[in-house]
Chain length 342, copies 2
């Protein structure tokens, strides 16, 4: 019963291999009579085509692979919805691979595996890989098409979807200024990551452009993880020239900053405004403060576009003009920002 092949079907229905194939793929000419015979055989045997053989000769799989780390992280909510929606609208199968944390070994494994023709295209979010590692696993000139999200790796010529973190931070500061703030501090994240640096630069550029001074102690660098945002906020609150607004490098940090302010007996946002940036890494503890005013990344759109663009390129057959798009962010007004009460 197991592993029925096209050959069995041919024997069973008394036709040739080619005819069976034609019936199954509804392609080419075949008479009603033989067609019926073959279909009956398919029914009887529970035949299911072998995808390996099929894709070996067709040199395509009609599938797209997606590699991310920590698929379970709520951060991926919107991105995943984008992937899923796009997947539902196209005829390609979309398969996800997830690796834990910074497990680059596994990431390489999956990238190599998928690049071996398991899928026709691969989209990859982030990646802690270096250019060389990347090239070792995937060849940009191979027959599989690549799409990188939030990863502007240089040596690898392929499709790229990026988020304008500089503009995002810049607009956050503008927004705070629009509310009347001038004493604006920044808690910046891990200074070895490009996102962090971009957001820091956006903050600095906006301050400079608008003629605002980054006062003494206004630049707080996170040590360890986001929980340290609590301590950093405490430092800011202890300043003589206490800021009236704090822009944080991401929402996780911001949530701890809010907690610190509330614990210090301040009201948020009346006494101090706090702003985050849409990067909700998974918080083990439930956040109970006011909803964060934040800078939102268009992750749904990016997820959707990544799949859709790839599908388009695959359909055309040749993908020599890699796409490169930079997405702007948007401010979401919620409960942690208001004008300064002075």
């Amino acid at each position: 019963m197991s592993n029925v092949t096209i050959k069995d079907l041919a024997k069973l229905s008394g036709v040739s291999l080619a005819t069976v194939s034609r019936v199954i793929n509804q392609k080419g000419y075949v008479s009603q009579e033989l067609s019926a015979k073959v279909l009956r055989a398919v029914e009887e045997t529970g035949y299911r085509p072998n995808q390996a053989a099929r894709s070996l000769v067709q040199r395509r799989t009609d599938s797209i692979g997606v590699i991310v780390h920590n698929l379970h992280d709520p951060f991926f909510y919107d991105l995943l919805r984008g992937f899923e929606q796009a997947a539902a609208e196209i005829s390609y199968n979309v398969l996800f691979a997830s690796v834990l944390g910074g497990d680059t070994k596994s990431k390489e494994k999956y990238l190599q595996y998928l690049s071996g023709g398991v899928v026709d295209a691969v989209v990859m979010y982030g990646s802690y890989m270096s250019d060389e590692e990347m090239l070792r696993c995937a060849s940009p000139s191979s027959s599989v098409d690549y799409m990188l999200i939030e990863n502007d790796i240089q040596g690898f010529k392929c499709n790229k979807l990026l988020i304008n973190n500089v503009q995002g931070a810049y607009s956050a500061v503008e927004y705070l200024m629009g509310k009347g703030h001038t004493d604006i501090a920044h808690i910046c994240g891990n200074p070895n990551k490009k996102v962090t640096i971009d957001r820091l630069n956006g903050y600095l550029a906006a301050m400079r452009d608008k003629g605002l001074e980054v006062q003494d102690g206004y630049l707080q660098q996170l040590s360890a993880d986001y929980r340290n945002g609590y301590a950093r906020m405490k430092s800011l609150l202890a300043l003589k020239n206490r800021p009236t607004a704090v822009f944080c490098s991401d929402d996780a940090i911001a949530s701890y900053a809010v907690r610190a302010a509330l614990d210090a007996g301040l009201r948020v946002p009346e006494d101090i405004s706090i702003m985050g940036f849409d990067f909700q890494t998974n918080l083990p503890e439930r956040y109970r403060g006011p909803d964060l005013t934040t800078v939102k990344q268009p992750l749904y759109q990016i997820g959707f576009d990544s799949i859709t663009l790839l599908a388009g390129q695959l359909k055309k057959g040749r993908f020599d003009q890699p796409e490169r798009k930079v997405y702007d962010t948007q401010i979401v007004e919620q409960e942690t920002v208001c004008g300064p009460c002075r």
Copy 2:
């Protein structure tokens, strides 16, 4: 540069196909000399083995597929972590396929596709499929191994991991009784789903066993979706014989029940205790009430076990003894239950 094959490598390094294969798979005898030559050719060409050809002849892919609906749903948090952790510990690749909502068409598509030898085993969560649909896509006697989670479909002989919803609901009632409650109501969910019916039966059985009466109006049936939990709770509160505790069919319902109680000016849990059941379907609105006391499903364990069990069976080669496990739940004491204040 694209699509280098083993043949190219053989030509380039002046050896036979077999030798190249042996070098690449580090299998069989091959001299240092030739090995070096081949490896150099691999390096130069950026060769990557074609997985389709490989799995065609080996009749295995060393991968396991997972099909779920709404992968983005936070409900899957623990389940996904279980899958991921197991995936990281075994040598198999794990690939996820996600379909939107109740899109059985897509689910069938993926099941058929994966069953065509794209993976060696498939785990499937839930499923709105009937026996016949299931059989149409996947043959239990095929060479791919199946694992069903929370789906006790009858006509399909394969591995099954189930949750003891009856026991879960039963223990919830016992827990409430232990706190001193006797007037315990139940808001039950969609009565066409097996989960709901099981939980209802658990509630009823516990009440009967302990000699408690299900008083007039104590059984509330949800109409429409979980938001209706608000109205159902209102109905309970309007009763002359108002219950002191309410057990809800799932957490989503419970969260609306809590809101209704709070809106009615009652304190939770001092005035009324409310219990949920771990099924956190995605709530668009943020829940701000006290943390729910609830019945927790061992989803992490189930995710982990599903992959691990399959990997074990695959390694053994023959999977004729399907596994069937029923998991008990556990009560998580949080903030919505205390003794009755009478």
